[in-house]
């Protein structure tokens, strides 16, 4: 039997690269890091010949604190970690700070925090780091309310290193399942944990597996859904880029549980780095016998194939995905039959989201009761959210389900509550709800008329026009619909046209609001798949909670002062100091010089509402108004 000495060897190897006896610099090389210059940093650091054998330089995934990217950490041989964040300014100066730190003079500039391995030389995840010193209080707050269970390795291990994954406890859940548990036991554990699908609908994972395993058809298939089409949400990408093996391990466990012989990862081709890391993970796992025939020497065999998705939002819908995988157009079909009884090529197929699968190893290792220790009765466990919008610290976070919005938005995100108007929960088909202190779990979110979706969380401050936002989301969905159902295709297009008439001032009465509501409901009723059924959520929720904004638009007024056709720029003469800035900056010469006390005025017919004057005036004497139709 290969197990356990085989894994043991890998673990030893991983431990050496994870906790080496030399100083080690790790650079966050996930997409968020790359987009703020991390690759350049890496190139410069690895190019330092003089270090050669003394300082190790390597890449890791995303720590989650995307707001401070590029993120670099330095581990010293005594098990201390210095986390540096350059907030988008990775210049030569910041480079030198790292170099000096690696050479033994850690500076406090750019230092986010210093932490220490509780037991020097062992690291399984972020939970094993003890904070010693806070450089940036925001960074500490960002992590304080989090529970990084399944994202614990993200940003600490090298996603390309199988040994490091194993050294942090990876694949031990698999070994445990293969050698100590029957497939039924695995299903029972997952069922007992109460884990719900993280892909949007929140269906009970154990139940889904059970259905598939009861099928008389012996040929079963498991698919990891990594299509992630939600704009603004990137939890699946972050996981695949930072810790691909955890998803793979979950996938193998799911396959073992339902006795599948084939598994697939359906991944969006716009995620090249995720695809690359996954491919590497799959071949590394195969090379050591974690995939393929008789995994780890057990009787279980499995092949995993990667399928790149064409990348339309609707392709993430499971039935549509199954069609795409058989070479057809991405067009959903009516369920039942559910994929778990008849899916890919008619075989029972379990479709699970990436994050759902990443929870499985944890459950196998720690047990269902431990899983339920956080979260709520009906929504146990943790959830990854992507926090974005008007917050100080946007990023990729993991919190127990049922955590309050206040903790997430104000503590983690650092937003000032008084400035926040609304939250957009659950991506483009979620909902727009007023900002209040509510619990982030499936039931509470549903009771507001929104859905959890895949976990997008966009914070909207008082300057955001919610009518315009809802219009934008409906437009997105109208474009992304497969186009098969009339209501989803043309109904959404019609809704968008109505919303546009509100934001451009063409809507002349409030009748359009009743129309919006009715048509939205008709679309939800008549669409065949989840896309159409949920696409109107932003309209229905914003109409419910922010009806007055719609009413104002129907009167030609934009309360947030952002819908261009409905606003005017005015110069407050009494405060004007004659600095000429607005006059000079206006691209259309709409700012006219006058005589007398009123020095300048905006000629409305020439103004293109570019905001240049408003943003330029050093004395703040330009105001935006929206008077509406009187």
């Amino acid at each position: 039997m290969i197990f356990p000495c085989h894994l043991q060897e890998l673990a030893e190897k991983g431990k050496k690269s994870l906790c080496p006896s030399n100083p080690k610099i790790s650079i966050g090389l996930a997409t968020c890091g790359r987009s703020s210059g991390a690759l350049d940093l890496e190139k410069k650091l690895t190019a330092r010949q003089s270090w050669k054998s003394e300082v190790l330089v390597g890449g890791v995934g995303c720590l989650g604190a995307c707001y401070a990217e590029p993120l670099v950490s330095l581990r010293t041989p005594d098990g201390r970690y210095y986390f540096y964040g350059f907030h988008g300014q990775a210049d030569s100066n910041s480079l030198w700070q790292i170099i000096r730190a690696a050479e033994g003079v850690p500076s406090t500039r750019y230092l986010l925090a210093r932490a220490r391995e509780r037991q020097p030389g062992t690291l399984q995840g972020i939970q094993d780091l003890e904070l010693e010193k806070v450089g940036d209080p925001g960074f500490a707050l960002f992590f304080k309310a989090q529970a990084r269970r399944i994202t614990g390795r993200c940003g600490l291990i090298n996603p390309e290193s199988l040994p490091e994954y194993v050294a942090t406890g990876g694949y031990s859940a698999l070994a445990r399942a293969l050698f100590q548990l029957q497939p039924e036991d695995v299903i029972a554990m997952v069922a007992a944990s109460g884990l719900r699908g993280r892909g949007g609908a929140g269906f009970l994972t154990g139940k889904k597996w059970e259905l598939a395993s009861l099928s008389p058809d012996p040929e079963r298939i498991v698919i990891a859904n990594a299509d992630e089409g939600d704009p603004g949400a990137y939890m699946d990408r972050a996981l695949l880029e930072s810790d691909p093996h955890s998803v793979l391990e979950g996938l193998i466990l799911a396959s073992y549980a339902v006795r599948a012989s084939r598994a697939y990862v359906f991944v969006r081709h716009e995620y090249p780095l995720a695809v690359q890391n996954l491919r590497r993970a799959i071949s590394a796992a195969r090379a050591v016998g974690i995939l393929g025939k008789q995994i780890l020497g057990s009787g279980f065999s499995l092949e995993v194939h990667l399928v790149e998705s064409p990348g339309a939002f609707v392709c993430g819908e499971e039935t549509s995905m199954l069609r795409v995988m058989t070479g057809k157009r991405g067009e959903p079909y009516l369920r039942p039959p559910y994929p778990s009884s008849a899916g890919l090529w008619g075989h029972p197929t379990v479709v699970n989201n990436v994050e759902t699968l990443a929870n499985i190893p944890w459950i196998i290792l720690h047990g269902p009761d431990a899983f339920r220790e956080v979260g709520t009765e009906k929504s146990p466990g943790t959830k990854i959210f992507c926090l974005a919008g008007d917050v100080k610290r946007p990023g990729f976070i993991e919190v127990p389900l049922g955590t309050s919005t206040r903790a997430v938005i104000e503590e983690i995100g650092g937003a000032a509550p008084s400035s926040i108007k609304a939250l957009q929960v659950g991506g483009p088909s979620g909902g727009i709800v007023p900002y209040s202190d509510f619990s982030l779990d499936y039931e509470s979110v549903a009771s507001l008329g929104a859905i959890m979706g895949s976990g997008g969380l966009v914070v909207l401050n008082t300057n955001r026009c919610l009518v315009d936002l809802a219009r934008h989301l409906v437009d997105f969905m109208a474009r992304e619909s497969c186009g098969k159902c009339l209501f989803c295709r043309d109904g959404l297009a019609e809704l968008e046209a109505m919303m546009t008439s509100l934001t451009n001032g063409e809507a002349r009465s409030e009748v359009v609001l009743a129309e919006l509501e009715e048509l939205s409901k008709a679309v939800a009723d008549m669409a065949l798949c989840g896309l159409g059924k949920t696409a109107v959520n932003p309209v229905l929720t914003s109409l419910k909670f922010f009806r007055e904004e719609y009413e104002a638009h129907a009167r030609g007024k934009c309360p947030a002062l952002t819908c261009r056709p409905l606003i005017n720029f005015e110069i407050i003469s009494s405060q004007c100091r004659d600095c000429r800035c607005c006059y000079l900056v206006c691209p259309t010469d709409a700012v006219k010089r006058r005589g007398g006390r009123e020095l300048y005025a905006v000629a409305q017919e020439h103004c293109i509402k570019c905001r240049a004057c408003y943003e330029t005036c050093p004395f703040g004497c330009i105001k935006i108004t929206s008077e509406g139709r009187l």
Binding site: R329, G483, C485, A497, A522
Partner: protein
């Protein structure tokens, strides 16, 4: 041929179970409006006209009759205000894809709009209709997919959907031996409910590809 008893508009009817509800009702003389259904091709759920209400755990819910399979005891209503209103909405949206070569289609849709109008207030939206017609590259085609489906069924597969969402279009797929592959059967032309395919599929769709 198995039959089941279903309750249609409070009347018990015995219908075939192996065909979609719309067809089963049709065979009993109950005609639901429809444009995208054809008995050879089965239900597709595109046009939205065949809507009925059925009784579910959650109460009465609208559903497409072409996508429903009759089950014993199924309760169906075909004429409720909800049904009429949804049909009128569907008809209104379909009319935006006009004008249609076949006058019957315009009449049917106009009639459905009127029937629904009695049940709800509808604002005058001629302007909006004109706007959405202006952006429609293929006026007269309602994207019901019948032509695509029939062509596939006869194993020619010369037609396909292109694009998605509000930019969806039907398109003609050229082949090497194009003349031999298509044009003679006109199956698509015969099945098209609106008369859009004229004079041939190639002419109707190909020219628009690069427009």
């Amino acid at each position: 041929m198995k039959r089941v008893e279903v309750i249609i508009d409070n009347q018990v009817l015995s219908v075939r179970q192996d065909i979609p509800l719309i067809q089963a009702l049709r065979e009993q003389g109950i005609l639901l409006p429809s444009l995208c259904y054809h008995r050879l091709l089965g239900g597709y759920g595109s046009c939205g006209l065949c809507v009925v209400e059925i009784y579910t755990e959650a109460g009465w819910r609208p559903r497409h009759a072409c996508l429903l399979q009759p089950e014993a005891g199924l309760q169906v209503k075909t004429n409720t205000p909800t049904v009429l209103r949804l049909r009128a909405r569907a008809a209104r949206l379909l009319l935006r894809r006009g004008p249609f070569p076949k006058k019957e289609v315009e009449e049917l849709l106009g009639h459905l709009v009127q029937k629904g109008e009695k049940t709800c207030f509808e604002p005058d939206d001629k302007e909006a209709a004109a706007r959405s017609r202006a952006g429609n590259p293929a006026p007269g085609c309602i994207l019901c997919g019948l032509c695509v489906r029939i062509c596939e069924k006869i194993r020619k597969s010369r037609l396909t959907f292109l694009g998605r969402g509000k930019n969806l279009q039907v398109s003609f797929v050229s082949a090497e031996e194009e003349a031999a592959a298509c044009g003679s059967c006109k199956a698509c032309q015969r099945i098209c409910p609106t008369g859009f395919i004229e004079p041939s599929a190639r002419e109707a769709f190909k020219a628009r590809l690069y427009k």
